[in-house]
Symmetry: C2
Subunit: 561 residues, 2 copies
């Protein structure tokens, strides 16, 4: 039997019908007066950075997921819904999420701020420009780029190797024509060299804004950025600081470093701040935003990019470690449909009940549960209901999860909002009340880079071992000799598989990971290990979402979804 | 004898010491309640676009200048000071100015919002990001760029000639390495082609935002943008509309089209909005901002880029014509120092009294006075005092201007603020009270393109005639055959000379103008005629202003001036 909830309007219809609270009232709920915040219109505000250094009073809950599939898991929607559910149950809960990039907004899917009755508002503003953080990051990035080429043009006193420049250019747009270019052509236009553009979530400055603990730390990290190496054999790192760019970059980011307050569809506080990629960066909202949430609320719900193999691992090993955060519970989002895909069903067949395929996909949940548990954090599985799920399918998943010894909750936040997340909220509160959390990162940063990579590959992905390309071997040696020996590692691999091969679903065994490129993000403070090609500049589709967008005469928006 | 006013602190010191009024109070002075505006922090606000369609109650005063020299004329400073003076005299005056670009902020001079005691505030925010208008324009521009290359990639159904694409890419930064590039390199990255970047004030979208009368007109103009021509002999224009980009571009600009309210150093209202180049575009703040000013105030002071040959001519022939504005008085700013340069003195020698050189430079003032007068607008000459000016020099200029039959006023707004502009304000009020203005544009748009160009060259620059390159001839024929026959012309030439040769100062005679390139800005609604090379992407200097900038621990800024 198929459960058929009442029809749910489109995301933007729901968003436009919502009556928002003035954001100053939302801020007042958190104990903030008008002088504490800076309004950006009536429904957005910048929060004071000083709160990020205030003592935490809240408890931190991570929302993660199984590996993403085209079936969709709804991790952001569950995060919003869970925060709404907490508030319905009388808790002072805050949601902390990433800001969306314009690239995907105009590319495939239109916006990214939850969905259905579990969204953050104002949906249109959040998806377009928001409070300008990404533009500020793009400006700071572009200033450094311009100062690099300007340095080459005016005599190259630092001896920067024009062929050794690793700092790319950036833009917040899906623009495949900028993946590979030659710049500086023509007389008087500087040094001709190859250049590549990355989309703004892939900018190291995005990761820096997400990891900086305050304005001083921001400036320190910006100065540490390595833009390339010197000419000659020694190949010494050249930093943003050496170019005299740090101060002006910090100025450009003085407001972007402050977290943004908006609201959920049910009027609760949501702090949206930063949005680094989940592969070449760590895929979490900013540390300062999470800390501000912990200073103001009793419960903070946050999420991390992709599945637990990428997002949760980096949340724990990079963000929580950097920020001294203490996550006390985690939610693992799964859907019947995506588990059927893990079990071998094609997307077109997902509407049909298939208990066999679902059963084959269940070990995938178990793997992700163990991933979270090995960090010492207790976990609840949230089965995010979709209209095509049958009772038998839902029961099969729930029964299986019970055998793992972890709680499970049905979740229907897309169709029902916070009410659809109350069962999940109760399970999370149960974990928090049991106080069993004993969070610890997976590895010590003092280990050699290769060992840190091997630890993640074996324990999180289930790999038998790691192979390093000769280029990766060389890079690791250089990084260990140039001050990057003792940072966390940031693994960049496909989000669709636990392996480095996107086609291998479920729980592959008997595989090795191949690290083909390693580089340092000295400002962000981690070493990136790339397994396979990672797309850092998406392209638009044949029919981009942008083509369907329009501002109506009444000021409302069509086509943003 | 040298007049020595008390020492004046640096611009940013003055700005930081100023006690700003909450912007809602400034808005209240204009009769606007809190629901009418959207705050961007405590000292910036977006004004409602609907006011741009309200009936005008104010009278419009243009501030223009003689040709710029390295000596500095202070046109923006006089504009701010004049609006401050009007308010000191009890008038409800509003200042309407352009927004600055980040390029010059980090390049040569750091900031651009008046100077001394005649500035607009908050100076730092205005110079960095402000309310995000330029970033929004850059996004809309970049979306169109990405959609062009995406169209080529996905089969090029419109038959767009990859070598006939005239839409450049843009960035708000001085970045000479992007003047000439090859993009789309590598497999799967689209069509390899040449590309150039222009700085954001040179984006046609900047001119469109500055000339659109409302949201509907904005969308129409965006759709009209010609991005290139079709393959084959016919070379038909391909427009943003054909690419399906218009709706999404309009969405990106929905807030950028609203004027911004800030304040002068003396707490009066200042509307800053848009900032198109004064050469390849028309160099004025937005039409909607000026109209909002006219709807709210009794007196509106506005300025236009460079000297009267570029800025005032375009203000009258392009902006006032497009918007049905009725300018009733003009201020022509001149300084002793820059007139001495027009008379042949080198910059290093300017501190020395030189009555001979000054006398030789005086006809330059007369030429600019006549430039304004031929539009039917009465003019007053403002002698903007500098500390090195001697009494004899000041008297020489004043006496000369008197012989022209136009009023003259000493102006010391940099050192004294509004008080130093009261004499000028009285003279402007005198012109307004006399009601002698009979504004009319210089030419009818129905004239052939070549005739319109010749009219401006002869009557405004004093040229004997115009020579067109063969490329320009071809372009004009194409434009007249493709719907651009009846727009105003936008002359792009050096701002330093009345001719097309930057080295020819004062009032050259016996010269012809050479138009080497003509192209249409179909969205902006004018035809650009380029005389000589016009730099649309500046470079940074050997020691860019950015290197001296820093955010202090107390949150104040160092190095922005």
């Amino acid at each position: 039997m198929t459960v058929t909830p009442p029809p749910v309007p489109s995301d933007i219809e729901i968003a436009q019908q919502a009556i928002m609270r003035p954001i100053r009232d939302v801020a007042a709920d958190l104990g903030l007066g008008e002088d504490d915040i800076d309004l950006y219109g009536k429904y957005k505000a910048k929060l004071p950075l000083s709160l990020a250094s205030a003592p935490p009073k809240g408890r931190l809950v991570l929302v993660t997921a199984i590996n993403p599939t085209p079936a969709g898991e709804g991790k952001s929607t569950v995060s919003v819904g869970l925060s709404q559910a907490f508030r319905r149950l009388g808790h002072n809960a805050v949601l902390c999420m990433r800001e969306p990039s314009l690239g995907p907004v105009f590319g495939v899917k239109g916006g990214a701020a939850g969905g259905g009755y579990s969204q953050v508002l104002p949906m249109d503003d959040i998806n377009l420009h928001f409070t300008g953080d990404f533009h500020a990051i793009a400006s700071a990035h572009a200033l450094l780029s311009a100062m690099i080429d300007n340095h080459l043009y005016h005599g190259n006193a630092l001896g920067l190797n024009p062929k050794g420049i690793t700092w790319p250019r950036t833009i917040d747009m899906n623009d495949r024509a900028l993946r590979s270019a030659i710049i500086g052509m023509g007389t008087g236009n500087g040094t001709m060299r190859e250049e590549r553009w990355v989309i703004i979530p892939a900018s190291e400055i995005m990761a820096i804004v997400a990891l900086a603990s305050d304005a001083e730390d921001l400036e320190l990290r910006l100065g540490n950025i390595v833009v390339g190496t010197t000419l000659g054999k020694e190949k010494k790192p050249v930093r943003a600081r050496d170019l005299g760019a740090t101060g002006a970059m910090t100025l450009l980011l003085k407001d972007a470093i402050r977290p943004n307050l908006v609201q959920t569809l049910e009027g609760g506080p949501a702090i949206l701040h930063a949005g680094p990629f989940g592969n070449i960066a760590h895929g979490c909202n900013s540390l300062v935003a999470t800390r501000v949430g912990l200073a103001l609320a009793d419960l903070v719900v946050t999420e991390a990019g992709f599945g637990s193999d990428l997002g949760a691992e980096k949340f724990f090993d990079i963000k929580c470690r950097a920020g001294g955060l203490n996550p006390e519970a985690a939610v693992l989002v799964a859907t019947v449909r995506s588990l059927k895909m893990q079990g071998g069903v094609a997307k077109a067949e997902l509407d049909r009940e298939d208990l066999g395929a679902l059963e084959r996909g269940l070990p995938h949940v178990a793997h992700h549960v163990r991933n979270v548990q090995q960090f010492g954090v207790p976990v609840v599985v949230a089965i995010n209901r979709r209209t095509s799920d049958t009772d038998a399918e839902l029961r099969l998943v729930a029964d299986y999860v019970a055998t793992l010894g972890v709680p499970v909750a049905m979740c229907n936040v897309w169709a029902e909002g916070g009410a659809g997340g109350e069962a999940l909220a109760h399970e999370v509160l149960g974990l928090l009340n049991a106080k069993t959390s004993a969070f610890a990162p997976l590895y010590a940063t003092e280990q050699p880079i290769r060992d840190k990579i091997r630890t993640v590959a074996r324990r999180v992905y289930g790999a038998d071992g790691v192979d390093f390309s000769s280029a990766a071997e060389k890079s690791i040696d250089w990084l260990e000799a140039n001050g990057m020996a003792h940072t966390p590692v940031c693994m960049a691999k496909t989000q669709y598989s636990l392996t480095d091969d996107a086609s291998r679903l479920n729980v592959p065994t008997g595989f090795r990971m191949t690290v083909n490129e390693v580089y340092g993000s000295a400002g962000a403070g981690f070493v990136v290990a790339k397994c396979g090609d990672i797309m850092t500049m998406p392209g638009l589709s044949k029919k981009p979402a942008a083509e369907g967008m329009r501002l109506r005469a009444d000021g409302t928006i069509e086509g943003l979804s």
